[in-house]
């Protein structure tokens, strides 16, 4: 008869080995998962909500929770993969590097095999929302994959604002990047994305932040405005129309001055007119609109 303590040790060891395998896969460039379900599992962050429920709830309402779904629950990529420069005419030609949009809308794509990418592209073309909704920019994307920019993210590691060596599942290592605008700038755009066969240009917010906001004397980070009190909702949420209007009203003030007078540059040629002078002042950290 096996002693209960021994059995418990064996079970613990098996569990740790299993978790270790997953973490290795998450960080190894050699690990290319073969399907959507494996990719979803590899970056599954649902266990985080057991302790970080409020943050998880905030995130789940954000665009990061549905990066391939556009406004009103539509798969925004479908139209681009059906017509235009990115149109997919032969699924056999689709590879991990075919769709530049995934670089930011699904950064974990680099762990996907060509077969997994074909499955994703097929789901997009088939308007399979149930499947596409499962792909997100969850906790592990920002707190591991994007948590450092020098070198590769470490195996079995999370990155955060402070060291938490005894954090459940994986230790948290401090990464200064998490509070820096560069963290967001990894995806929220400098300009043209030229490192693909078919280049694209989506968000240019970080370029505007670097080259307009900072030179104008701006001092705040993306996180200070879009993640106040570490809120992971990260507005704007373009599906919440009133909230977007209110956010824009906060960022942009409008002043209107009027002058009613008679313009008479030549005698007996008088034109009554009104001059309306509008002044829009922005306190945002980037151009508005962008993209």
């Amino acid at each position: 008869m096996t002693h209960p303590f021994v059995l418990q040790l064996i079970l613990s060891f098996l569990l740790m080995s299993f978790l270790g395998m997953e973490a290795n896969a998450m960080n190894s460039a050699d690990s290319q998962v073969g399907s959507i379900s494996e990719l979803v599992k590899l970056f599954d962050s649902t266990s985080c909500k057991e302790c970080h429920k409020e943050i998880f709830d905030q995130w789940s309402k954000s665009h990061h929770a549905r990066p391939l779904m556009g406004l009103d629950d539509q798969i925004f990529l479908k139209k681009y993969l059906k017509t235009g420069p990115l149109a997919v005419t032969d699924l056999n030609q689709v590879t991990n590097r075919s769709i530049p949009c995934f670089k930011c809308h699904l950064p974990q794509i680099r762990y996907a095999s060509d077969a997994a990418v074909v499955e994703i592209v097929s789901a997009i073309l088939d308007d399979n929302k149930e499947t596409i909704r499962k792909l997100n920019i969850g906790c592990l994307v920002c707190h591991n994959e994007k948590g450092i920019v020098r070198g590769k993210p470490a195996t079995n590691t999370l990155y955060g604002n402070k060291d938490i060596p005894d954090h459940p599942e994986f230790p948290v290592h401090k990464s200064g990047l998490l509070k820096d605008s560069l963290m967001c700038g990894q995806c929220h755009g400098l300009g043209p994305v030229l490192d693909y066969e078919h280049p694209v240009q989506c968000a240019t917010l970080y370029g505007s932040y670097l080259h307009a906001y900072i030179p104008a004397g701006g001092t705040e980070t993306c996180q200070e405005c879009h993640m106040p009190d570490k809120n992971h909702y990260m507005p704007p949420n373009f599906n919440n129309r009133q909230e977007v209007s209110e956010l824009l009203a906060k960022a942009l003030t409008l002043d209107v001055k009027t002058l009613a007078y008679v313009f008479e540059p030549v005698e007996d040629w008088a034109t009554p007119k009104i001059i309306v002078r509008t002044t829009i002042t922005s306190v945002a950290g980037h151009r508005i609109p962008d993209g």
């Binding site: 240009q201 942009l252 009613a260 009104i274 002044t279 829009i280 922005s282 609109p289």
Partner: protein
């Protein structure tokens, strides 16, 4: 004041992208590469515009309505500000 619209003008503030090979503005992330012109509202600065509205001599009261909105797509309007001013004739 009889409700007649005397003047209507729209200004579009936006980054205007080219395709990297012509001077023709393009739309969509799959086509855009670089900028031809940028009239968007820049951070930490004021964007000033003037509108000149000619009047008829007999117009004594004019209502000015200025609307600022965000439109990611034509017809998809997110209102931002609306300012209304009454002007009681030219002095």
């Amino acid at each position: 004041m009889d409700g007649t619209e005397l003047f209507h003008q729209q200004r579009i503030y936006m980054p205007q992208a080219g395709d990297g090979s012509s001077a023709h503005m393009v739309l969509g992330p799959d086509k855009k590469l670089g900028l031809l012109r940028d009239t968007s509202i820049q951070p930490m600065s004021a964007l000033i515009d003037n509108f000149e509205i000619p009047l008829q001599n007999n117009q004594s009261t004019v209502t000015i309505e200025v609307k600022l909105s965000y439109q990611p797509r034509p017809g998809n309007v997110y209102p931002i500000h609306t300012i209304v001013k009454e002007i009681y004739g030219v002095r």
